[in-house]
Amino acid sequence: MNTMNRRQQLLILGIISGIGLVAILAGIMIYMNASAAIIQKPAEQIQVAPPQQPAPGENISPGSSGYRVSLSTVDVSTGQPLGNVSVYLDGGYAGSTAGQGATGILEIGPVSEGLHTIRVTKSGYIEDTKNVSVPAAYPFKIGLQTELLVPIREAGSHDTKIDIVFVPSGTTYNCAKETKIASTRYVTDRSAFVSDVNRVVNESLFTLDSVTDKTSPIPADYRDRFNIYYYYDSSDFADAFSGCAGTVPEKFWKTVPFADMVVILYPTYYTLDTGAPCEPNGCVHPGTGRSWMKTPADQNVLFQHESGHAIFGLIDTYCGTTEYWQNDPDPNVWSSQAGCRQDAINHSRDPLACRQIQQTNPTACTKQFWRWDPDPDIMHEGYSGTFGKASTLRITYILDHIDAWGRTP
């Protein structure tokens, strides 16, 4: 043949197109770098993937023998190919299916013969890891399940923000009958749950500035120090009335390990006027890694009271059957009057406002702990009031010390 055949022509055109594509990507990088220089983006915030080198003794270096591994990623709910999935071979980043468009196929190699792990991650999907044996008789196919977690407001990385996750309850409580009852509101209507979550966030959590002390205010950007999510599994709901603080869905911790505080939300608490013995409206289960609380969706101040415990480590200031300790640093409850007064002096507050936690009506109650915040104090009332100077200082301390592990400078 004295002319190029069709395949050769296509090959040359493919090379030209490839050069074009590389030029586009290079242009994008040049453009973005130039933009970054203009906005003076802090260097330490730029994430850099590690250079890809084989581990010592591993037979996958370029040029050595090995196998090409074809990997296909699909969305299990639709069965459709899923692109832009990050793929890690044996813990090292191996590429993204983005390299081949939205088809969800990636070829890795050369890969040495034997057992390997392939981990796949994609935003909005539950990450998955498979053990694979190379060579295999057919391409590997990994299905990714849509994450049950939906972001409402993401302000930054999990390390640097307080991650609050709302979970719907399939139960509520009728105090008149002293019985737990099934609640279908969130079970049958996801949008009702989402609507309640948004309302609680906007009317309770994000109104902290209006219920805290104005003379030494909490950080003005406090809303940006939270990541807010909701978790909705239509086959498994939380039970707000299993034990004091309730229980979360079985799969929850596996899929949302980073949750700093889980809020089990139930629609409403029926009949409040009969008094004890009834199940609590709100309750906190503190934990080092797994902390959760329950609260009704229709009581904004009670949410602030419970999140005062759960998120900010505040102590109840009413006298009753509850837990007391001096919650250093920046406490709102002291184990001695002297300590309370000294702290008040240190923070230019009136030391004479320190008073013992006690109650004479309806039954006499006295605790060997002292409080400073004036009434109506949210941690005293539960259903009304504000956070005083001491509680506000404590809230600010937590907002300023989110990553106590010290992962971020």
Binding site: I30, I38, V48, H158, C244, T288, R290, T322
Partner: protein, 432 residues
């Protein structure tokens, strides 16, 4: 009219520059956490299990009352001390009505036994977790993390935090970028250069794509070919179909030999990709029935299998098949095989078309076309046999009988090539 390509280029540049900030590839994620599942029973704490996994750990909420946790390094130094809340205590509130107005009451749920989980970020230098009773400082239990850390990095040896490879890789987020020191002018120039580069690239990409499209349309006469994929493994069916669609083919699938014949009765595809090892009707039997039916015998069939090809397969079926692809098949191999089949068909059709109108015997033209295909297919199959049985390698090859059979196949190909040459010579005049 002359302005339209320029306008098009400017539009593309603007769109691409706008999209530049929205390239949706997730950054590499290497956060790892440790979760220790513990139980407490009447004050005695027992570790039940330890798990290390990819993912972020929760933040540490300071000053929870309960126990004291410690993370300890291999040399015994304490890396971190932190509070661990008492899992047996849950504090609640209930708001009740009272003649004097609503009031809050406390509810404390205390138990003797409880399960709990302590979760913290993995620090490779930490090898032990200890939990103490804060009142007397008594050690309640300790957990040696080293076996789990070693097992984790054995499963993920290429992780950049693997102690065995530290020094050979840069840890994530540790490479500082030089602070932005470019002047605004230089940065603007960079943006202009970026846009121009994007524009040039877009022109090349569009030009290449357009020309390829024209070639595909004019040479093949059709935009999209249809391929029937037959395999009894649903995963393979799905993956191969995805690969084919990615390459621009439309696909149909059949989960077995019988279903393949049913599909062929509905519509004739341009090619059948047929698995051999199926139940109850295997690929060879399906192939026999396809070739027996006059309506389907002209469809090119490519065999797809994990089973090594044998000389007997070649002798029995070389007339019937177009190619033989060994699993695992990569995207490139699959595309090459299919393009080879279509190119060969097109070339033979062009040769037949060129011979029409001449006085050349139609029988000879047909034989030439048939032999062209058979020789090409047989050469591919022979190459596969040589590779499969390592006839060219220095290592011990197959048995004598098998070697002889392969050599016979080679001889058959030579004979067919000779005959093809004769026919071409006879036809002459450069038609073939």
């Amino acid at each position: 009219m002359k302005l339209s390509p320029v306008i098009m280029m400017i539009c593309i540049c603007c769109i691409l520059a706008g999209l530049a900030g929205s390239v949706a590839v997730d950054p590499a994620q290497y956060d790892k956490s440790v979760s220790i599942h513990l139980t407490i029973d009447n004050g005695k704490i027992t570790a039940q299990s330890t798990e290390i996994y990819y993912g972020s750990a929760p933040n540490l909420i300071p000053t929870q009352e309960g126990f004291r946790g410690e993370l300890v390094a291999a040399d015994g130094s304490i890396v971190k001390t932190f509070p661990v809340s008492d899992p047996r205590v849950q504090s609640g509130d209930v708001i009740v009505s009272d003649p004097a107005g609503p009031r809050i009451q406390g509810v404390v749920d205390r138990q003797n036994s409880a399960d709990f989980v302590v979760t913290f970020p993995l620090d490779p230098k930490v090898t032990e977790f200890r939990i103490y009773n804060p009142s007397g400082g008594t050690l309640l239990t300790s957990v040696n993390l080293k076996p789990q850390i070693d097992a984790f990095f054995a499963a993920y040896p290429r992780d950049p935090d693997n102690p065995a490879s530290v020094g050979s890789r840069a840890p994530v987020n540790s490479i500082p970028q030089p602070a932005g020191s470019a002047s605004p002018l230089a940065a603007s120039s960079g943006q202009v250069l970026g846009v121009l580069t994007i524009g040039s690239g877009a022109m090349l990409l569009l030009g290449g794509g357009f020309a390829s499209f024209r070639i595909l349309r004019t040479k093949t006469g059709s935009v999209q070919r249809n391929i029937l994929v037959v395999d009894d493994n649903p995963d393979i069916l799905s993956v191969i179909s995805d690969m084919l669609r990615m390459s621009g083919y439309s696909t149909r699938i059949a989960p077995g030999g019988r279903e393949c014949l049913d599909e062929l009765a509905v519509a004739i595809p341009d090619l059948v990709l047929l698995d051999i090892g199926m139940e109850p009707m295997n690929g060879w039997e399906t192939l026999r029935l396809i070739k027996k039916n006059p309506a389907t015998q002209g469809i090119p069939v490519v065999m797809l299998t994990a089973k090594p090809l044998t000389p007997k397969d070649v002798l029995d079926y070389n007339i019937c098949i177009e190619d033989y692809i060994m699993k695992p098949v990569g995207l490139q191999d699959l595309n090459d095989a299919i393009i080879r089949v279509f190119d060969r068909r097109r070339m033979i059709q062009e040769q037949i078309a060129a011979a029409k109108g001449t006085r050349i015997d139609r029988k000879e033209i047909c034989e030439c076309a048939r032999l062209t295909r058979v020789v090409d297919v047989n050469k591919r199959l022979w190459n596969l046999l040589v590779k499969t049985y390592n006839l060219e390698g220095g290592t011990p090859g197959p048995g004598e009988e098998l070697t002889r059979a392969i050599r016979n196949t080679e001889q058959t190909i030579r004979d067919q090539e000779k005959r093809l040459e004769q026919i071409r010579h006879h036809l002459g005049s450069g038609v073939m």
